[in-house]
């Protein structure tokens, strides 16, 4: 099930939240767990087994790590991590490896008939944070399997993040109170997320889809730039929309999830961008990969090797294809250059740094969005090759307004207004209008893609 659907809005929400609020506080984890199982099982019933198995394995590993001292702790940890990442590798990457092995060796191994379980990349990272933190002694092993299950399956962030580490919610998993004003805040955040996804992301995304249908080789240069802008806005409003919806739903349940985006397109360097974009993912890599590898404490050369590893993995996490690795490595190169000498210069030149960061971010999205390397080449030839045509007149008029709205909403200019009027009548009216408009767009079920099926 996805949030931006009429099924979720008008069936799941009323039934689930009625049960959740009616239920006494101490039984709410049961309702949340059961609701999450329905939510996940709706689209992927067969993968429920995988999810439940993951709960059992990591619960047992956690208890063993908590119970033993000495090598048994380490063995339990390794066992759990091999299981977690083994599942991820198998379901997400097996055919990528087979394909490349065939290519390299000339073998003809057939692909394995697997489909990617929804959200596996997200929940694997979440559960790994739990066993690692138990091992490090940062959190105590969870005694109740239901509580751990509730953490892992919690429907708001299950399929598209944010990546909530166990330590952040451990306390609330055991005891939480939810007030009417928190629920109201949650509703307004949820509606903003829904509007982001349905009204902005889907509409600007339609232009990117059109560019694909026209064929990159047929695009005029202005249209290629418009298309690149449209994808950049689509991925931001889509992803941030999902995160906001998750954070809003979390609030309605009594949880506080971490912020995932902080106006990333206002960044003035790529270093800055990754402090603002998908913050929970970069946080996870820092905490569980970069720092354990030694971070920047083992000399310059080792620091760059560590960065290289982190960024190759970050790219690969986003999808089992070479273009995602290329995308990650692109960031490694740019971040390394910035770290070496560029940062000071960027800080001194605000106009240049804004243009620089926005262009590089947009180019990086093209590496991300186009999986075929030769097509990436074609697209960049169109961006810089000066090809004329009238197509941009047509698409410029059709999408100009929505692209402009997207650009404005990428900046913090309206955030102040929301803080000020969000809880007063005008803010409430705007929220309800956004909600009704989103429902109207969902009613005419056309274009409503789910972008994270590869994650």
């Amino acid at each position: 099930m996805i949030f931006s659907s009429l099924l979720f809005l008008f069936w799941f929400l009323p039934i689930f939240f009625t049960l959740y609020y009616v239920c006494p506080a101490k039984y709410r984890n049961i309702v949340l767990f059961a609701g999450s199982i329905v939510f996940y099982g709706w689209g992927e019933p067969k993968f429920l087994i995988l999810l439940l198995l993951s709960i059992i394995v990591n619960y047992a590993a956690g208890r063993l790590i908590g119970h033993f001292t000495g090598p048994a702790r380490k063995i339990s940890l390794i066992f759990a991590l091999v299981f977690d990442f083994g599942m991820l590798l198998f379901f997400k990457y097996i055919n990528f490896f087979i394909g490349n092995l065939n290519h390299l060796t000339g073998l003809h191994l057939t692909d394995v008939a697997v489909t990617l379980p929804l959200g596996i990349s997200f929940y694997t990272f979440q559960i790994a944070s739990y066993v690692i933190d138990v091992y490090r002694g940062k959190v105590r092993a969870e005694r109740s399997i239901l509580t751990l299950g509730t953490y892992l399956c919690m429907f708001p962030q299950l399929i598209a993040g944010p990546i909530v580490v166990y330590a952040d919610v451990a306390e609330k998993l055991h005891e939480r109170r939810v007030t009417l004003s928190e629920i109201t805040d949650g509703v307004s955040i949820f509606i903003l997320g829904l509007g982001s996804k349905v009204l902005i992301a889907n509409n600007v995304g339609a232009l990117w889809t059109e560019a694909g249908k026209i064929g990159y080789e047929n695009l005029s240069t202005p249209l290629a730039w418009l298309a690149m802008l449209s994808f950049s806005l689509q991925i931001y409003f889509d992803f941030n929309g999902y995160s906001l919806m998750a954070i809003g739903l979390g609030k309605m349940l009594g949880f506080t999830f971490p912020k995932n985006f902080n106006h990333p397109y206002m960044a003035r360097s790529i270093t800055d961008f990754w402090r603002r974009w998908h913050m929970t993912l970069s946080g996870w890599f820092r905490e569980y990969v970069y720092i354990p590898l030694g971070g920047n404490r083992k000399g310059t050369a080792r620091t760059y090797v560590n960065l290289l590893i982190v960024w190759a993995l970050t790219g690969f996490w986003h999808g089992a294809d070479w273009n995602f690795i290329l995308w990650g490595l692109f960031f490694f190169v740019v971040l390394a250059v910035e770290k070496l000498f560029l940062t000071d210069f960027l800080e001194k030149h605000p106009v240049f740094s804004h243009v620089y960061a926005k262009l590089l971010i947009a180019f990086s999205w093209m590496l991300f969005a186009i999986t075929d390397f030769s097509q990436i080449g074609v697209f960049f030839t169109r961006l810089f090759g000066l090809k004329g045509g009238t197509d941009w007149l047509y698409y410029g008029r059709n999408y100009g307004v929505i692209l402009l709205i997207g650009c404005i909403l990428s900046t913090p200019v309206l955030s102040g207004l929301f803080e000020r009027y969000g809880k007063r009548i005008p803010g409430i009216a705007v929220c309800m209008l956004i909600f009704l408009a989103s429902v109207a767009y969902l009613a005419d079920a056309g274009y409503n893609p789910f972008l994270y099926f590869r994650f």
Binding site: S5, L6, L7, L9, F10, W11, L13, P14, I15, W42, G43, P45, L180, S181, I183, T184, V187, S188, I191, N203, E210, K213, I214, G215, N218, G389, T390, D391, W392, L393, Y394, Y395, R397, N398, Y399, G400, V401, I402, I405, K423, R424, I425, I428, C431, M432, F435, L436, A437, V439, A440, Y441, L442, A443, D444, A445, G446
Partner: protein, 377 residues
């Protein structure tokens, strides 16, 4: 005290409105009667599915339920119009892939020559090579080609005339191939007279355009005089493209037909004594009146010509408003729609060795349909 209360209501107002809206909609889903057919979109709608174990197992229950929540949403048609309006407010001339052009004309987009087009062209050429008798091919250009000046500048469209010229050259190079260029006559008529050749809101051509094409196919000297036929018309026709584009600002079309007497009309759903189903004029999809809608195979017997000649037509729905005129040239017309006719076409041709053969399609169908292989199978 009073002001405290007021602040409290405002504080929770959003929760009350949102919660109320969600709960109310949920209840309306349960209470309101379900529609199982949408006239406007001319399709069946999903009603609330029953839970079955097998449906849960293979996921078909969930899929149907998803569709149900969309198609039975309370006030759906009204909300869909709201979406069309919001879309128009952002100056977007497209809704659901339908483009609003000049003078209220709607157009479909076309991203150029498809891979299917080459396959279909090959199927047609192979069919002509193996037919053993002359085959006439007439491909109608669609509105975006003839009414180019009404299509917004830069909207993706195929160069239909160029594509068709290439195909016609290859057809005419075959001994049995005979192509009829419909684009020229329609373009000339469009430049010269005020006759409406395409519906504003439907993807078909008008009966007047079909008559012009008919004249090209049989030759002007063999064509029945349009003025000698009794003309009927009905207003308030909104077509298939209007159903997709939605919106409330479209102007309607007039649907025209001519009295054409026949002797017999045998369809797969029964025998009839007229070519037109006037009951269809009461529903949304009025164009379905011609030949009573698409059918896998139907046969028309007529005595308007008494030429003793037979015709076999393979066609799409563009042909439905043209075929009535052909009864003035043929005593028997067999009409085959390869989308639904899965039996052997070769067998059908062998049964009627003297019949003329006509392939009559529109360009967008030729570009997209994937049943042309049945010409040769």
């Amino acid at each position: 005290m009073a002001s405290d209360e007021k602040r409290n209501t405002t504080e929770y107002l959003l929760l009350i409105l949102f919660g109320g809206c969600v709960m109310l909609t949920f209840l309306l889903y349960l209470i309101l009667p379900q529609n199982d057919f949408s006239q406007k979109e001319n399709r069946y709608l999903q009603t609330r599915p029953a839970i079955t174990l097998s449906g849960l197992k293979d996921g078909s229950f969930m899929d149907k339920f998803d569709t149900y929540t969309t198609e039975q949403l309370p006030f759906r048609e009204c909300l869909v119009d709201v979406k069309a309006m919001l879309n128009a407010l952002t100056l977007n001339r497209e809704n659901n892939d339908i483009v609003l052009g000049a003078d209220g004309y709607l157009f479909e987009k076309c991203y150029g020559k498809s891979t299917q087009l080459s396959k279909n062209e090959t199927a047609i050429l192979t069919f002509i090579e193996n037919a053993g008798r002359p085959v006439t091919v007439a491909i109608a250009p669609t509105a975006s080609e003839i009414l180019k000046d009404k299509v917004p500048a830069g909207c993706p469209q195929a160069d239909q005339s160029a594509e068709l010229k290439d195909l016609y050259d290859r057809i005419d190079a075959l001994p049995n191939g005979n192509s009829v260029d419909l684009a020229a006559v329609l373009a000339a008529e469009n430049a010269g007279s005020g006759v409406q050749l395409y519906y504003r809101t439907d993807h078909h051509w008008t009966t007047d355009a079909a008559y012009l094409a008919y004249g090209e196919i049989v030759g002007a000297e063999n064509a029945v005089d349009q003025a000698s036929l009794t003309r009927h018309s009905v207003d308030d026709f909104y077509g298939t493209m209007a159903a997709k584009y939605k919106g409330t600002d479209l102007s309607s079309d007039t649907l025209v037909w001519y009295d054409v007497p026949i002797e017999t009309f045998r369809r797969s759903d029964g025998d009839f004594d007229t070519l037109y189903d006037l009951d269809k004029l009461e529903i949304y999809d009025k164009y379905a009146m011609f030949l009573r809608g698409n059918d896998e195979i139907c046969t028309i017997g007529a005595e308007n010509a008494k030429t003793g000649r037979h015709l076999i037509v393979c066609k799409d729905s563009y042909a439905n408003c043209l075929i009535p005129f052909l009864t003035y040239n043929y005593d028997r017309i067999t009409v085959v729609d390869l989308r639904y006719y899965a039996e052997s076409l070769a067998g059908l041709l062998a049964e009627d060795p003297d019949a003329d053969i006509l392939l009559l399609y529109n360009f967008s169908f030729l570009n997209e349909d994937n049943h042309f292989y049945r010409l040769t199978s």
